[in-house]
Amino acid sequence: MIEIIIQISYLVATALFILSLKFMNKPHTARMGVFFGVGGMTAAVVGTLLNPHIVGYEWIVVGLVIGTIIGVPLSWVPLTAVPQRTALSHAFGGLAAGLVGVAKYYLWLEEGALTQFRTGAIVLEILLGFLTFTGSLMAAGKLQEIIPTRPITYKGQNLINLALLSIAIIIGVYLVIHPEASFLFPALIVLSLLFGVLLIIPIGGADMPTVIALLNSYAGLAAVAMGFVLENKLLIAAGALDGSSGLILSIIMCRAMNRSFANVLFGAFGQLQTSAGTAEQRTVKSATAEDAAQIMENANSVVIIPGYGMAVAQAQHRVRDLYEHLTKRGVDVKFAIHPVAGRMPGHMNVLLAEAEIPYDRLIEMDDINPEMSEVDVALVIGANDVVNPAARHDKGSPIYGMPIIDADKAKTVLANKRSMNAGFAGIENELYYAQNTLMVFGDAKSTIGEMVKYFAGESGM
């Protein structure tokens, strides 16, 4: 009887999780999604607590309390740090899966209940869980800049990684054939942990959005593997939902950078290109913040193209002020969002939403590009590679083929930048030398602030 109640609670939880994700379709129903998600989780946890195999609740309470104590402050991080938090929680997810796998292996070993099927599932769980654990810790470290964000490469790297993975797989297969060969089990754990580290080390900061999405997928697959170990369909279903979500997001990220998975994982992007760019001195035209403000004031339409540099400079709120002043003057202001703007999928949208910019003003790249030639002013703030026209035509450029926002097609381009240094990928941006481009030099926060002051002063009179 109790078993049936537990299974029903899992069934309800699965349905609520699916509905929860479905509500994420649209911004105005999305908060319902969280509500349903919490409901599903509560159903699952309560159902599990009824399990007759549980003999004591004291350690369960300890775990729940510790998790809450760590979890609550982790949800207060600034939005610029959300990518790190996400990577960290993938790490926790991987760790949990790995540890449950270890516990189950030794318990069954003791009871003599290790079947080949169970061992196979445990091997997968260990591999995925622990590589997600260390890999995500590395990714979090890179995002937090505790670990150098540049790709760390050495000779024969891919060969070593491949060899490590092969050894782990051979050990795994051997364990499935001989489940009692427990002396090999710790080796599998160590290799999985090591592989996670080595897999992420050569990946540069620019690829982090893809890597986070990929690790998301692995964390989901680790939960699926745990479901097979425990023969629990709820775990399989919820893990599969997470895994497919990570998969879709990583495909979107890869497409947005015109790269393949293999290229992200083994390519060590943005390091080896010794600036092949022509070193000729070209001249740029520059303008003051006040000039720029006047140009925008006389425009009918302005498209703002934000990059992560805007968030680094903490300029979002000034940008919001600018948006309001321009809108008040009847200028049509939109924001063009490149899929990889920011450090994880959708990051820029969240950063702008925090600054209280209405979400119907945030336009995706594919939707804004056809309009760009009609736009009077494109204002580029802290973005670089995503507006570099070289991606369209320069076959020699490392970013060739990457979809970009066609800022150069606007009648006037205003590009805010601190100096003429090259961007994240170390590539010259020809947009800055174009006939219709005016550079507005200076820190994003103070430059946009000056523009806002111009408008504020004007309306004050």
Partner: protein
């Protein structure tokens, strides 16, 4: 055992298709909150950890289970809370800032 295994593969297959279909329709605006929400949902691993921490078969398994339980609970709590915090920021078009 064999029918059990096939049932599980069935669940995996169906859930993957459902997942791909649903996630595909999620607004790109919300990909960051989506990720923190799926984070919290995949912390359903807590179910496995609870049983291991509660069975108390051996000291080692109880310790491992409790750590796994704490890690999953961290993801559940922080995942749902931060998702809601981010979603609150998406202002409906036309509403003035508060």
């Amino acid at each position: 055992m064999h029918t059990d295994f096939l049932t599980m593969v069935f669940v995996l297959m169906l859930a993957t298709f459902v997942g791909l279909e649903i996630i595909h329709n999620v607004s790109r605006l919300l990909h960051t909150p989506l990720m923190s929400l799926t984070n919290a949902i995949s912390a359903i691993a807590i179910v496995g950890s609870i049983i291991i921490a509660g069975e108390q078969h051996s000291t080692a398994s109880t310790v491992l289970g409790t750590i796994a339980l704490a890690a999953s609970m961290t993801n559940i709590v922080s995942g749902f809370l931060i998702t809601d915090r981010m979603l609150k920021m998406f202002k409906k078009p036309g509403t003035k800032q508060s």
